[in-house]
Symmetry: C2
Subunit: 221 residues, 2 copies
Amino acid sequence: MTATTPPDSYAPAASTTPTRARQRVSYDRELVHGILDGTYLCHLGFVADGRPVVLPTLHARDGERLYLHGSTGARALRHGELPVCVTVTHVDGLVLARSAFHHSINYRSVLVHGTARRVTDEARARAALDTLVNAVVPGRAADCRPADGRELAATAVLELELAEVSAKVRAGGPNDDPADLGLPHWSGVMPVRTAYGTPVPAADGGSRPELPAYLRERIAG
Amino acid sequence: MTATTPPDSYAPAASTTPTRARQRVSYDRELVHGILDGTYLCHLGFVADGRPVVLPTLHARDGERLYLHGSTGARALRHGELPVCVTVTHVDGLVLARSAFHHSINYRSVLVHGTARRVTDEARARAALDTLVNAVVPGRAADCRPADGRELAATAVLELELAEVSAKVRAGGPNDDPADLGLPHWSGVMPVRTAYGTPVPAADGGSRPELPAYLRERIAG
C-alpha cells in the first residue's frame, strides 16, 4: 500500500488498471468485500503449459484472505504455489437500449491477482473449509459432520491474499444517443437475480429431519 | 477430429482431459451446445505479460463458432489473435450432505480452449453482434436500431472455433457415506436458478412503448 492509498481502498497495480471503461473501476474495500461475499462461485484462472485455463470453483473471504476450493486446480499446484487471477461476477440486469450499440449488462465484478498457496496446516485447513461451507449456506458448517483427517487431506484448499484487487460496476439505465430517444423500441433494464427453489430432500433412505431455519432463510433471501 | 470420435462429440485433447472427477466429463456436442446457449455470461481467460487474466464478458454460439464481446480483452489482442480459455458455468443447485466433505454444487460447465481472433469483416461483425444481442434477449436484434459503421468499428467482436471443448456436469443428490445416513442433519439439494424481475423502463424522457412479447417471455422463462 502506498502513501496515496487510503486504508479503505486497495492500491491500484498495473494488473488492476484497465485500459478501457476506467470510470467503472473501483478499489473500494467495502465494495470489493460485498461483491466477493455476495456469491460462492468464482472463476479461477491460471497458466498451464503456457496456456490459459479457467475453472469454476468456490471461494470464501476471511478478512483480507480468499479461500478457494482447489481440487480442480490441483494439478497446476505441483510447486506449491500458483499465480492466479480469480474473478467473481454478479449479473444484476440486462440493459436494453434503443440502439444495438448501447445494449449492456449491469454487473458487479472483482478481479484478484496474486499467488495462490495450498493451506497445509490442519487447523487452518479445517477453518477454511468451514468458511467455504458457510459461504455457500450461511450457518451450515455447524450443522453437519466435520471432516475427519482423511477427508481433510483429500481436500485441497488454496489461499490468496487480497492485495492486487479491483472492482468494476455498471449500474443504471441505458445511455442512448439523444437522436435515438424517439425510436419506438422498448428500452430499460430487466433485473436479474439468483433464486432458490423448493429444497429436495435426499432420497437415500437416511434421516429426514425438518428443514432448518438457515435454509428457509436462504430460500427467502 | 480423429477416426475414433463420433460426429456428435468433440475430440478429447490434452487440454480438455481433466486429472480429477473424470466421470463428470463429457464431450457430447448437444450437451456442450445446450450449456453454451443457456446463458450469455462467460469468463474469458488469457495470458498477459506471463500472468493469467480472467474477464467476464458475453458470448453467443453460431454453429461451431463462439462469438465473444471483446472490448474488455482488446488490449491483449494487439497481435490479432489470442490464445484463450472460455468458461461458461451454470449453477443448478446447492448439494447439502450430512458430512461437510460431501457438500457439493450441482453445475454444468463448458471449457473452450483455442485461439480467438477479431472479426474484421463488416458484414460478419454485424451478424456476430446480432447473434450476441439475441443471446442475451432472444428476438431483440430485430427490435433496435442496428449499429452504424462508426459503432461497428468501436465494437470488438472475437471469434473462437469450437474444437477443443469439454463439458463437466454434476447432478443429483448428496453422496453421503453409509455410516453418516443416520446423522440428524438435513440433506438434499437446494435448486438454484436465474430469475428476471419486473422490467424498469428507461427514465430518459424518450419513447415509452409497451413491453414487447419477447421480453414478457424472458421474464416468464
